[in-house]
């Protein structure tokens, strides 16, 4: 039998658990996180229920469809201009009143609504009781209580969806009634609209047009054609004038709609919500007072950063060693196996010393820190700490004429710069969003941390595994990161004084309540994700890069390998910035993935050297020192690692988000020039004073 196909939208305020519901229903893995704005684009997945395949759409969070701000456009457009068979509006049980606002607005658009009151477990903890049955009566649509994270109530939710879609339940929403003169205005506009436009959502559209929604007007103009539109426009103007004569300013019509909706929400909530303990917020406030206080706020942020680094560095040591022993143990057997197959020698060499070695390095040295850092970061995110960072740092960003939410996208950048760039959609003002996009690369992503840590360990801390050594490395790493953050602020300021000139725009940010992360699940999930991600990249990027560099090193023209020719060519320039040709080339070839830079450097040296021992950092250091590295080289490598062009994925993302290669060019040029300049100055000074 052919299964029916139906379309369901998941809407709701930001951070109420839409993506969590979505994941549980569809078995997909949309990212979730305890801060508003985690999801910035639509995702869809299939949920099979009874005889129907439900295509579920996870929308970005939105506070409102009427007053709507820019970032919510995606969600609004989806709800208003696309047809769906039903809409699930997810609500936060802890702050139902504001959430009902969106429910009531959605009911203005469609009556096929199912209200999902999520986070019931949180509400229970805070001793907030919600009478779901009464709520359903008041709204006239089905209401289902859920705790999505622990999978409670989701079956019932789908049952209700099924009932609504197949009209076993007749929804009967109570329409809002505005003051008579407003209703009259709406009706007149609606009538004219209906003449031209065969759609159902006319009431809502009429309300928007009355308030002179420019974007919407253009959309309607497209649909109606100029002539009909002129007629409509006249009707609208007349209605607006009429409203104005009733004492409402022309550009404040939305206020009246929203106020009425809020009043109704308030009334409903007073009847259905009971607070056993009015002080349910106090604990949260107490914690926040400390976290945002003058004395503790900023130092605590730095301390947390250091703790995360410390766990990453110490935790990565052992698995790293284990992995490298294990992986490099396969090198000989692999080689012999190829011989056994009578593979030509050049092929065996290429596969083993080119491809396999780089691959093994990426997995052994780069993977463990990445797989440890990421889950820790996710835990902080799930706890709800990130918005507090934005709250604490907003003032600094404001002084650079930027948006405090840039702190959020910046911290996202620690995980992955491409994700950080996409995340910039939560910033309303286009100017501030571009600043955030252009500067995101100044915080090192997950793929650059291991490089920083490896170089630090080899040249500044030594190989003792004492606590002291690990603490020094943490302090140094933190200083590097703070430098990156300082540079973010400086460049933001410079941009807002030059090409992205402007004053800071307004800013509101919701600080969600702390939620206990699902520790085990987060750790398992993100280690797994990271490992797969790194392995995937190792195969798709590191392996080909390994082969490429091996080929470059082994094809000779006039007894000089291509690799040597390239690095000799780059060398004079590289020397002025404290590097050498091989390093510079590794950075360039590392464009597709930052984590292959160190392995490439190593390959570059080994191709011409005689070192055969390479299985750990100590051996690597020997190799590097033999090739002329000193602490200045190390410092310059770290500087370049922090300040250079974004990886290819990030560049493509920037193109997608800004729509122009011009911005991609800028985001490549700015950090690269800064990195080169710092390295040049460092090198010149140290040479001038003869320190090296």
């Amino acid at each position: 039998m052919d299964r029916m196909k139906k379309k369901i939208a998941l809407a709701g305020n930001p951070n109420v658990g839409k993506s969590t519901v979505f994941n549980e229903l569809t078995g997909m893995h949309q990212h979730t996180g305890n801060w508003p704005g985690k999801t910035v684009s639509n995702a869809s997945g299939i949920c099979k229920f009874r005889y129907t395949d439900y295509m579920i759409y996870d929308l970005p969070g939105t506070y409102s469809l009427i007053a709507h701000s820019q970032e919510e456009e995606v969600a609004r457009d989806f709800l208003c201009f696309e047809e769906q068979d039903a809409v699930i509006v997810v609500c936060d049980a802890v702050c139902l009143e504001r959430n009902l606002n969106l429910v009531l607005q959605t009911l203005e658009i469609t009556s096929h609504v199912i209200v999902c009151v999520n986070l019931l477990d949180e509400a229970k903890k805070k001793k907030i009781h919600i009478n779901l049955k009464k709520l359903s009566e008041k709204l006239g649509v089905p209401v289902v209580g859920t705790s999505a994270r622990s999978k409670k109530g989701l079956d019932k939710l789908m049952a209700s969806v099924d009932d609504v879609v197949y009209q076993r339940i007749k929804s009967n929403p109570n329409h809002l009634n505005y003051q008579p003169f407003l209703e009259e205005a709406i009706t007149t506009v609606e009538a004219t609209l209906k003449n031209f436009y065969p759609i159902q959502k006319t009431r809502w559209l009429a309300m928007q047009l009355l308030d002179d929604d420019i974007v919407l007007k253009e959309a309607v103009l497209d649909q109606l054609g100029q002539e009909n539109f002129n007629v409509l426009e006249e009707v609208i103007e007349e209605a607006r004038l009429c409203i104005y004569h009733n004492g409402i300013q022309k550009n404040h019509i939305k206020d009246v709609f929203v106020s009425e909706i809020m009043r109704v929400s308030e009334t409903i909530c007073n009847e259905v919500v009971t607070y056993e303990n009015q002080e349910y917020m106090e604990k949260n406030i107490k914690i926040d007072k400390i976290i945002t206080s003058r004395k503790v706020g900023i130092p605590l942020m730095i301390l947390l950063l250091m703790v995360v680094f410390w766990i990453t560095i110490v935790g990565a040591n052992y698995p790293s060693e284990l992995l490298s022993n294990w992986l490099f143990g396969f090198e000989d057997p692999f080689f012999q196996f190829l011989n056994f197959l009578h593979a030509p020698e050049w092929l065996s060499n290429m596969l083993v010393f080119g491809m396999y070695r780089v691959l093994a390095w990426v997995v052994a040295v780069m993977l463990p820190p990445m797989a440890i850092f990421f889950p820790l970061f996710t835990l902080l995110e799930d706890l709800g700490y990130l918005p507090r960072v934005a709250f604490n740092m907003d003032h600094a960003f404001k002084r650079c004429s930027a948006c405090g939410k840039q702190a959020l996208t910046m911290t996202m950048g620690f995980g992955c710069n491409a994700a950080g760039v996409t995340g910039c959609r939560i910033i309303d003002s286009p100017r501030e969003r571009f600043i955030a996009i252009l500067t995101n690369n100044f915080v090192p992503c997950n793929g650059r941390f291991p490089t920083l840590i490896a170089v630090l360990t080899m040249f500044f801390i030594g190989f003792s595994s004492s606590i002291g050594a690990s603490i020094i490395s943490v302090v140094l790493l933190t200083i590097i990161i703070l430098l990156g953050i300082a540079m973010t602020l400086i460049v933001s300021k410079l941009l807002s004084k030059t090409i992205l000139r402007g004053v800071p725009s307004s800013f509101t940010l919701e600080l969600p309540p702390y939620r206990k992360p699902q520790i085990v699940k987060v750790i398992v999930r993100s280690i797994f994700d990271r490992t797969l991600f790194v392995l995937g990249r190792a195969i798709s990027v590191a392996a080909p890069a390994g082969i490429l560099i091996w080929v470059l090193a082994n094809i000779q023209i006039d007894h000089v390998s291509i690799l040597t020719m390239c690095s000799d060519f780059l060398n004079p320039f590289a020397q002025t910035i404290g590097l050498d040709g091989v390093i510079l080339m590794a950075f360039i070839l590392g464009f597709p993935a930052n984590e292959i830079v160190i392995p490439l450097i190593m390959m570059g040296y080994m191709a011409s050297g005689t070192i055969t021992e390479y299985t750990n950092l100590l051996a690597l250091k020997t190799l590097l020192v033999e090739n002329g590295w000193n602490w200045l080289t190390a410092l310059c490598v770290m500087t370049m690692c922090l300040f250079h062009f974004p990886c290819s994925t990030t560049c493509l993302t920037i193109k997608k988000e800004t729509g122009s290669w011009k911005w991609v060019g800028l985001s490549i040029l700015i950090p690269t020039i800064i990195g080169l300049t710092i390295c040049f100055l460092l090198t010149t000074f140290t040479h001038y004073f003869g320190i090296v």
Binding site: A67, S69, C95, R294, D428, P504, E510, L511
Partner: protein, 80 residues
């Protein structure tokens, strides 16, 4: 003389009288339910004293000083 939202100290409670801001911030404030008559409580100040966070309809919302000065309040109860 009217009082504006930014004058609240931590712990103070007040009610919204009027929102004077225009454009996108006005919409944003309406979005989060800040309509006339709505109760607000100042709960946090960031390390530099700006922005502040307010309890608005059950949620903590951070608002910058510049934006708070355009929000007129009444019926202030001082608890701080």
């Amino acid at each position: 003389m009217y009082q504006t939202l930014d004058s609240l100290k931590i712990g103070d409670i007040a009610y919204i009288e009027e929102i004077r801001s225009e454009g996108s911030i006005r919409r944003r404030l309406l979005d989060i339910g800040l309509t006339p008559g709505c109760k607000v409580k100042c709960v946090l100040k960031s390390p530099s004293g700006d922005p502040s966070a307010y309890l608005i309809r059950g949620a903590f919302i951070a608002i910058r000083k510049e934006d708070a000065t355009a929000i007129i309040i009444k019926g202030v109860e001082q608890n701080g």
